[in-house]
């Protein structure tokens, strides 16, 4: 579809669409903000325009609820997209994503542990333990789960798809069982947070979360971008990558760390959102190329774009209430996953 475009042109196209989706997402929801209103709020906020008293509620909703949500949503989408591309490169397999390889479920378990055993008032970002504890434990559990799936499914530089799927299922089941157990032994307000947050949602978005996820994304994305060529080389297997100057063992370890940091911070903030990491790089492969120097930046853009669109849907379907976004991504993503599996099997039989 986009095969004739250069990478730069694809980035530009995606960036324009992303900008449009961000504006749409900032405008549409239980509150409707036409672009003129947004411009006025910004003007008032920067004291360029006189503040109109009847704007206060709308302006507050825009700056305190909507804007951080739009940002958090885009950043989370970008993280999941990049993470999908990274993991598919690491496993040399197009069906891997953080939801499948135990990365997200591990992070969920880690966060649940902090909810239940952390401070007595459950999960309070006000306390220093809450701020550091949730992402930290989310990272540790997430890293453990991902490493385990990698080790189990990959031997002698080859990833076996069936072992990968089975190991992923087993690790996800273990982590979900752990989370489920915790929600049973937890007292009421804690349990409520766990179950709610397992579905993935942006309703609790605030500036603190958006900034934290933004920092995690910026740092990890810059590091990940340096490895585009290495991931390409890794497509030829660990040995061939090594002959081209890549140290595969070190690369894999580093990328799993980078990937897990991003995913666990995002998961600690918004909960588990599956299938975005699977769909995004795959669409880009179909449309343009499997070249990771292209896939990494493009996955960030397309991931953010898709997530903004899905979040708009989540906000509109049962207005003024809203759906957890994880439900929508799973609903759309799971059939896509099956389609990829079938395609993969076909190409296996032909090859």
């Amino acid at each position: 579809m986009l095969r004739r475009l250069t990478y730069g042109q694809v980035y530009l196209l995606l960036a324009l669409l992303l900008a449009a989706s961000v504006i749409a997402s900032a405008s549409i929801g239980a509150f409707m903000f036409p672009p003129s209103a947004i411009a006025r709020f910004v003007g008032e906020g920067l004291s360029l325009l006189p503040s109109r008293p009847d704007d206060i509620l709308d302006r507050n909703v825009f700056f305190i609820l909507r804007l951080p949500r739009v940002l958090l949503c885009g950043l989370t989408g970008a993280i999941l997209g990049v993470s999908g591309a990274l993991m598919q490169g690491l496993f040399r397999n197009p069906i891997v994503e953080p939801g499948l390889a135990g990365t997200s479920a591990g992070a969920a378990l880690g966060a649940a542990i902090v909810f239940v055993f952390g401070s007595s008032t459950a999960f309070s970002f006000a306390s220093p333990l809450g701020t550091a504890g949730v992402p930290l434990l989310a990272f540790l559990c997430s890293f453990g789960a991902t490493m385990l799936v990698y080790r189990l499914s990959t031997s002698f530089g080859r990833t076996d798809v069936f072992t990968l799927l089975l190991a992923g299922i087993a690790l996800n089941a273990m982590c979900n069982a752990g989370t489920g157990f915790l929600s049973y032994i937890a007292r009421d307000p804690q349990a409520r947070n766990i179950t709610f947050w397992n579905l993935g949602t942006f309703t609790t978005a605030d500036w603190r979360g958006a900034i934290l996820v933004g920092i995690a994304f910026a740092a990890c994305f810059v590091l990940a971008l340096r490895h585009g060529k290495n991931l390409n080389a890794l497509m030829l297997g660990e040995d061939n990558a090594a002959y081209m100057g890549v140290e595969p063992e070190r690369l894999i370890f580093r990328l799993i760390v980078i990937n897990t940091i991003m995913v666990s911070v995002a998961t600690a903030m918004v909960g588990v959102i599956a299938f975005v990491g699977l769909v995004v790089p795959h669409l880009l492969r179909l449309m343009r190329s499997s070249d990771y120097t292209f896939l990494l930046p493009a996955s960030a853009l397309l991931g953010a774009l898709l997530m903004e669109i899905v979040d708009i849907v989540a906000r509109l379907v049962i207005q003024p209430a809203e759906l957890p976004i994880g439900i929508i991504t799973a609903l759309l993503g799971a059939p896509f996953f099956l389609w990829i599996l079938i395609r993969e099997r076909r190409s296996d039989t032909y090859g």
Binding site: R92, N232, A233, G237, D239, G245, D291, G351
Partner: protein, 260 residues
């Protein structure tokens, strides 16, 4: 003593309790087509991997010129030598020229320079794949795939400057599973490349083809070097019969004929 491109110094290798190579000492000759011979399980691949610096020997050392291969950093090593394996797995739909460009990865950061792109174009030309450069790799035939990878490894050690040091090209049973046309094409192209200050180290199964293309021969048996020679005729018949467990006779034009 002649200068050696790659010097194998008393290299032994054991995997667990299994001794795979025992005290191998040999020099691969610069600017020549060195061929490692031996039956399955003789340790050819292990020797190639150790010589290329991918595997560390249990004891002994590998020198490129005067420098131990272990002292190179990965990128410098990748600019010095390239390695073509018998079949490379790649299931993602990457364009042929993107695969060949991978050979230039050790040479640039960020985006490829004009020179890198030119080398890719010339390598594609050398293997007759220019017309297919935009084609997705998975749609190629087995022979075309191996041509693509040959172009990739040639681009990796492309040597334009007179002053630059000798490059080394390892070919690990590169013709396995190719039809005769692609086999000859690959070995012709490789030989052509010798002119660019390059040393070739190849392991081959087909003895007649090896004797046609090679300049110097190293025969391995059970992890030991049992013979070195400069021509087919210099390898004793009884040695070949013993090592390969066949009956051999020389036929027309010095070609060997084998039967059990």
């Amino acid at each position: 003593m002649a200068d050696a491109a790659v010097r194998i110094r008393d290299v032994s290798y054991a995997a667990g309790s299994v001794q795979i190579l025992s005290a191998i000492a040999l020099d691969f000759q610069p600017g020549r087509f060195n061929v490692v011979l031996g039956p399955n399980g003789a340790g050819k691949s292990t020797l190639m991997r150790i010589a290329a610096g991918r595997l560390a020997p249990t004891s002994g050392d590998v020198l490129y010129g005067e420098t131990s291969v272990a002292a190179f950093d990965m990128t410098a090593l990748a600019r010095r030598r390239a390695f073509l394996s018998q079949n490379v797995e790649l299931t993602f739909p990457l364009a042929v020229e993107d695969v060949v460009l991978m050979g230039r990865y050790p040479h640039y950061r960020g985006v490829p320079s004009l020179k890198d792109k030119e080398i890719v174009a010339r390598a594609l030309d050398l293997v007759d794949m220019t017309a297919r450069r935009h084609q997705p790799y998975p749609t190629l035939s087995g022979g075309e795939r191996q041509k693509t990878h040959l172009a990739r490894v040639l681009a990796q050690i492309w040597n334009d400057e007179e002053s630059a040091e000798e490059r080394i090209l390892f070919l690990d049973e590169p013709t396995t599973s190719l039809d005769i046309h692609y086999q000859l094409h690959l070995l012709d192209t490789a030989r052509e490349f010798l002119k660019r200050r390059c040393t070739i180290v190849a392991s081959l199964h087909d003895l007649n083809m090896a004797f046609d293309y090679g300049d110097r021969f190293f025969l391995l048996e059970s992890g030991r070097l049992v013979h070195e020679a400069d021509s087919a005729r210099a390898v004793p018949k009884d040695l070949i019969e013993r090592v390969y467990r066949v009956k051999a006779e020389t036929g027309e034009g010095g070609y060997w004929r084998f039967r059990l």
